[in-house]
Symmetry: C2
Subunit: 283 residues, 2 copies
């Protein structure tokens, strides 16, 4: 496993020697370069959108839909949904009494260079794998930069299971009892605490239903990040289309006043060459 190898090899001072603002050049570069491509990292909202077992899910209430007496076509709908389902934001307020609500998160938390940590092999072996400090430090060493001023994205491979609830959540059941059956990868509370204490990420995203994989953890990763006003993005799609570094993320939540979260539209721009200069395949 990559993280364990790196833990063994890690020179203790290397991380300190990395420029803390190593990401700046990626940002000041040309993310809107005409050679770049915008990629949508968002699952659509529909009746099949995966929600937490205790939530009723997304419901589109169809309104008028067809030609009108005045000669034009017209369609308009309403909908109901939970803040926490589908590709969504957890505001710091979700797990912190004084955390920022959805409308209060500064835009500079939501826009920035991506750091994509690939955990797919570990997660294939263990469906409740939690990203470790070693996994994060291995990414730093490999990419020659710290996890500072960037949006950390944990790629577990779980998006390929969407929207099969059984495969994605570990259970297709609904209701409070189903919560104990949830099984998917997450972020270890220790790694979340380390990020808050020793790094400075703008936000953390994952391609599973939650950064905490079950109630047994007491939502330790959420508590650590929300307590430091670090927003969380869950049920993110398409992380397999991003390089480990070099993409730019724009993650814009619906602006719910006083919200604890909300539907999130998250996209990435990938340049035609990744950070290592390797040409990327056409998409």
């Amino acid at each position: 496993m990559e993280g364990m190898t790196m833990a063994t090899l890690r020179p203790p001072l290397l991380v300190l020697l990395l420029a803390p603002h190593a990401f700046s050049s990626a940002v000041a570069g040309q993310p809107f370069d005409h050679g770049g491509v915008w990629i949508d990292l968002t699952h659509p909202f529909s009746e099949t959108t995966v929600f937490w077992p205790t939530e009723p899910g997304f419901r589109l209430i169809r309104g008028e839909n067809g030609p009108t007496a005045k000669g034009y076509y017209y369609a308009a709908n309403r909908f109901q949904t939970a803040e926490h389902g589908g590709t969504h934001l957890d505001s710091p307020r979700h797990f912190a009494a004084d955390g920022q609500t959805t409308d209060a998160i500064p835009l500079n938390r939501l826009i920035g260079p991506a750091a994509v940590v690939d955990l797919t092999i570990a997660c294939q072996n263990s469906p409740t794998y939690e990203a470790t400090i070693d996994d994060l430090m291995a990414w730093e060493e490999k990419n020659h930069r710290q996890l500072v001023d960037c949006i950390l994205l944990l790629r577990t491979g779980w998006a390929a299971r969407w929207p099969d609830r059984e495969a994605y959540l570990g259970t297709a059941a609904s209701g409070p009892a189903a919560v104990m059956k949830l099984r998917f990868p997450g972020l270890s509370p220790a790694a979340a605490h380390w990020l808050v204490a020793h790094r400075r990420v703008q936000a953390v995203g994952i391609d599973t239903a939650s950064i905490d994989h079950g109630p047994s953890t007491h939502f330790g990763a959420h508590v650590a990040l929300c307590g430091a006003n670090v927003p969380i993005f869950e049920n993110v799609a398409g992380l397999d289309q991003l390089p480990a570094a070099g993409a730019v993320i724009v993650a814009l939540p619906m602006k719910i006043a006083g919200g604890s979260g909300g539907p999130l539209r998250i996209i990435a721009q990938v340049r035609s060459t990744d950070s290592s200069g390797t040409p990327r395949n056409a998409r």
Copy 2:
């Protein structure tokens, strides 16, 4: 009035001589420049959010909110809303049977350089003013570029009236009868047709409740734009903070499968100098 003056002075060939891709340099420049500032152009969703008189408005259904038995704080809510209210997207499907639905709009329609047409003086004099072809051509002449490959934003000054329904909509009443009392500025159907036939805008936004100012128009501007798959942004905020040219817009709607529209988060990056090289005030 600026538009009328320009109509008189306009040399007929000038517009044809303008480079059709004059916006490219603004895009290929450094919109993520560290000297740039992100500005939110989105009204928050709350009980006071302005909706069309026939829609019930936004309703946050508060869930748990407080300390749990396990020791951590927890808050989570649900909500109901119409697709068309607050700062929102009109998908082409809103007024076109074969128009793109919300989830199908390409991202390159939603991200691009802003062209902000200031109509505030005309709208002060006439609360049902409709932007004309002359207004649009006056912007082109003044800014030395065509309305091509850009996001056209109509600034009427109406955002300053938000969320006073009477001042913003022309009526505080609800229900179908109130629709006849709506009064606010919009885009003339003739100008919308001209944009579709002779220019190539990515999208059109406005700081009022609709680009069509009432049912008497048979929604001619909507029909023209939606019929050409041009998305529309309504109830946009903060356009007074943008230069006429030089800002970059990112407008990301909630990804509703099959939607006719939806809540929109729209932001702009303004560089520390605008397109004319004039330093901008700190924000």
